[in-house]
Every structure is written in C-alpha cells, then in structure tokens.
C-alpha cells in the first residue's frame, strides 16, 4: 500500500496495518507454504479491500485467481484473513460478518480498534459534565461511546454502532445540517426510523445528547456502564446503603403507597353510581368516560376506567369504539411514528394496547403528576388478578415505571419482563 493511500485511512487502521497485518502476512507465508508471488498477491488483495477498491465479500472469488497453483484450502485461507485482518475493521469495512458466515466461520466477538491516543488526548472519566461539541473535541473516545443497545442503520443502509458520532450523523442526515429547534428534535425522535425503535430511557438520553449538540447545553454524563447515560442533573452519589436502611425506606414507601391508594379510592365514584348514570348499560360507560376526559374530570375518568376493567370491557372498548381508537391512533402516530398507527388495526397484544391507552388518558389527556399517575395505574391494574402488569416497581429508586415498549419491525413488543 502506498503511503499516500495509507494516509487516507483512519489513524487506528494505519496503526493496525503496521502492527498487525504486516506480521500476519509473514505468518501466512509459513503456515500456508506460500511462494513469493502468492504472498504478494494476498498482500495486494488485502490492500485493495482495505482501500475499498474491492468488495470484502468478493474475497473468496479473488483468491481463486491466486498465481502458481495454491496447494492449500482456499476457504481456510480466506477465513483466516477475514477473521484476523478484516474482522477488526468491521466498523470501517462492513459486511465482514457476512463474509465470515459465508465461509462457514463463526463471527467472533466484536473488536473495536483502539484509537491511538496522542499526548494531547485526555482520558475520559467515568462520570463527567460538559457540552457535547466540547467533549467531542476534547476527548476523542467520547464520540465512540454507545448510547443505545442495538445497532442503527446509517445513510448508506449499513448497520453501524449506536455511538454518539453515528447518532449525530443520523440526526444530521434526517434533519439536515445547522441548528435545529426543539420541535425539529422532537420530530426526529418521534419519526426517525432509528430513534423510533428506542425504548423510552434511551430516547431520553438521545434527546439530551441532541439538545446539548444544538443548544450547547451543559449536561451530566455517565459511562460507567456499557452504555452512556445522559442527565440534566448530576446523578445522586451511588452510595450503597446498608440493607437495613433500604428495607426501612422500602417499608416507608409501601405504607405511603397504601395510604395514597386509600385516599385515591375514596375520591372515586362508586360503581353503582356510574352504572346508574349509564342506565345499567356497560357500553354507555364509554360515553361517560368520553365526556369525563373531555372536561378533564380526573376522578370520574378513573372511576369509569375502573368500572370498565372490573367488567372486563376495557379491551373491547379500545378495539371497537372509534372515538377512542382514533385518539389512540393519533397518540401512537405522534409517539411512535405514523407507520405504527396501523399496528392498532393489526394483531396488537391487548396488554400493550391497554398500556398505551392508559398512558394516553392518564398522562397525556389528564396530565396527572407522576406520583398520582402511577397510583392510578397501580389501582387499575390490580383490580383483577392475572390481568398483566403495565408498570413495575424500581426498588432502587423506590418509584414505579411504565413497562417499556419497543418497536420491532412495525410491531410493538415488550422490552423487559416483569
């Protein structure tokens, strides 16, 4: 490879060629009893693939053209080159995994080439604060930190690491370069194919990342786990409390919940009053619910929902009442993207439909504060046993959370298991 060509490659790849490929080729020479023209041929093939003059997936076909009748097994040779030389360059070349599988090999664990640290580069601490653009300039490794668990699709249709750099590139590709408003950011998060697939907690991190990128906002970052987390406020010190303290705190939480539930239930309308207003017709409770939502009557709305759940009529209402279906469809369209609106008409899990419906009514329509919201959901989901859980208790933070939903191939699916 000529120096001028070598210099066009990212520095970590240049180092890799110097430090790994050169020695590896010498070992190949002995291992496969190559002659010098064969050695030169392999050397050139590797260079052409690294310089992207040749497609990586064409390696086995090209090796067949090796001079002087190669005596060994070409597939074994190709697999060895693919695994040692090209697999570490997977992020740069792409499709190396396909090649390895095609050659009958097993795709090794992902390797990321370490970027060479210049003397000016600073080590990124586990927790840090700053503005995204400053951090990118100051810490070269920052842009490679992963923000979400699954790979994303870049503008060329290739699966790439969900790194800070690739998310920003996807954002710019989706909205164009330049500064973006909060409305545009919301549009990206709710409509871009990559962001759509994210669970809520990753969406939040992405939102903060883009906010800081656009507005130069100072945020708090934590990279102690495998994924980067971003928050507006500094994270509370992760001081391990003695077990006894945790239990005392948890007992207190439970007693608080109990008293809130009692208070909440006291404010609800008795079922017989609602039924009498509905002329003892459960289908007319839908009308009362619709009107209650319209006037923002929290207690009546929750009372109607409770009654519908008790009579096992809520799922049917979501399925067949056009008024509720339409507002739910719009809510899904805004939150998960227009193409997901159709999911409602298809074979959606009733528990997922109920989860989204309750979130829409309680959080979006009634705007309940988080504390009341989860007390209401706790109440509504514990009316009948085995009805399925929509929320879970985060024991560490001692608060309830919605079970996370993700979009997988135009379908909703649960991310976690209660």
């Amino acid at each position: 490879m000529l120096i001028n060509e070598l210099k066009t490659l990212p520095e970590e790849i240049q180092v890799f060629i110097w430090e790994v490929v050169s020695d590896f080729n010498d070992k190949l020479y002995d291992e496969f009893s190559l002659d010098y023209p064969q050695f030169e041929f392999i050397n050139k093939v590797e260079d052409d693939i690294i310089l992207k003059k040749t497609k990586i997936v064409d390696l086995p076909i090209i090796l067949e053209k090796m001079p002087n009748h190669f005596k060994g097994d070409l597939r074994v040779l190709a697999l060895k080159i693919a695994t040692v030389v090209f697999w570490p360059l997977q992020d740069y070349l792409g499709n190396v995994d396909r090649l390895i599988l095609r050659l009958g090999g097993k795709v090794p664990k992902h390797i990321s080439l370490k970027k060479k640290q210049s003397s000016d580069d600073k080590q990124l601490p586990e927790t840090f604060q700053g503005k995204v653009k400053d951090l990118i300039n100051k810490y070269p490794e920052f842009k490679d930190l992963r923000l979400s668990p699954n790979k994303i699709v870049n503008d060329k249709g290739l699966m790439v690491n969900p790194s800070v750099q690739n998310w920003i590139a996807d954002y710019i590709h989706f909205l164009g370069a330049g500064q973006h408003s909060s409305l545009e950011r919301a549009k990206y998060i709710s409509k871009s194919p990559n962001a759509l697939k994210l669970a809520d907690k990753y969406k939040n991190c992405l939102r903060y990342l883009l906010l800081s990128y656009d507005e130069n906002t100072e945020l708090y970052f934590n990279r102690s786990e495998s994924l980067l987390t971003i928050e507006e406020e500094p994270a509370k010190q992760n001081i391990k409390q003695p077990e006894a303290d945790v239990n005392v705190g948890f007992d207190k939480f439970l007693s608080n919940l109990k008293s809130k539930l009692n208070k909440f239930e006291e404010q609800l309308f008795p079922s017989d009053i609602i039924m009498s207003e509905a002329e003892n017709n459960i289908n007319k409770v839908r009308d009362i619910l619709w009107q209650s939502i319209g006037v923002g009557d929290r207690d009546k709305t929750i009372s109607c929902l409770k009654l519908l759940i008790e009579r096992k009529a809520l799922d049917l209402m979501i399925k067949e009442d056009n008024r509720f279906r339409n507002i739910l469809k719009r809510f899904i369209g805004v939150k998960y993207g227009q193409n997901m609106e159709r999911a409602l008409a298809e074979n959606i899990d009733p528990l997922i439909a109920r989860r989204i419906f309750l979130e829409m009514i309680l959080s979006d329509k009634l705007s309940l504060p988080e504390e009341d919201l989860f007390v209401a959901v706790f109440l509504l989901t514990n009316i009948s046993t085995n009805s399925g859980q929509l929320i879970y208790l985060d024991k560490k933070d001692q608060k309830f959370q919605w079970r996370t939903i993700q979009v997988v191939g135009n379908k909703f699916a649960w991310v976690d298991k209660v």
Partner: protein
C-alpha cells in the same frame, strides 16, 4: 553498506542501545526535515532509523520523501531486521532488490558467511526467491 556495521558491530550495538533509549518516545515525523545532502545529517538520519520502533517507523514514513524512504529502508536493512510491509510496498523495484540484498548479506554475515560469498549466492537468486528467503 556502512563500514561500521561490519568490524565494529559490537560497539555499534552499545551505541545503538544508548541512542534507542535516548530517542524513546521521540516524534519521528520531524526527521523528514533533515537534509540528506548534508553528510552529518544523513549519518544521523541513518542512526536514528536503525533504532526506530514500529511506531516511529510509521511516523517517519508518513512524512518522508522517496530519498528518505530509500535511505531509511537501507538503514533498517543493515540491522538485519525484517522490514514492515508498508516500507517494502513503497520502494521501487530496484531499491527493493538492493534492500533485500543488504538484509541477506547481513543475515549471512551473522552466520559467518563472508560478504563476497553472500554476493556470489545472490547472483543466482531471482527476486521472488530472494524475497521469499527473507520472509
């Protein structure tokens, strides 16, 4: 081949070790500023090339001109070490052969073969055979 790599090999190993420790971590990309027409600078360039680590070789090669690459490869060959593929890829066929011959002679000298004998053998070797022997 420099005379000092023959008779005074032992002395030069010591000097080279000192020089290597003195240049530990040095940025070799600056070596491209040296003027090879000035004998002292040329000699220093050769000595520095001989003690370069893989990383320093890479730094030097990145900024070097063809003359410097040639001298650099020749200096490395005089130490008998195997040259990195990137260096070999950037030599003209003539220089590549010269460098390979130098490496061969040094290797043979370490086995007790005289330079004259080594050169005689070299005359029988075509490029592919010679390069293959040095792998």
């Amino acid at each position: 081949m420099n005379a000092d790599d023959g008779d005074n090999l032992g002395t030069n190993y010591v000097t080279r070790a000192l020089l290597k420790s003195a240049t530990d971590g040095m940025d070799y990309s600056r070596l491209q500023e040296m003027d090879l027409q000035v004998p002292e600078e040329r000699r220093l360039f050769e000595q520095l090339a001989k003690v370069a680590t893989q990383d320093q070789q890479r730094q030097l090669l990145q900024e070097a001109n063809p003359d410097q690459i040639k001298l650099f490869a020749e200096a490395l060959a005089e130490t008998g070490q195997k040259l990195n593929k990137v260096i070999m890829d950037n030599l003209t066929p003539g220089v590549k052969r010269e460098v390979a011959e130098t490496t061969y002679i040094v290797k043979e000298a370490r086995r007790g073969v005289s330079e004259a004998e080594a050169r005689a053998k070299l005359a029988e070797l075509d490029d592919a055979k010679l390069y293959g022997m040095l792998k």
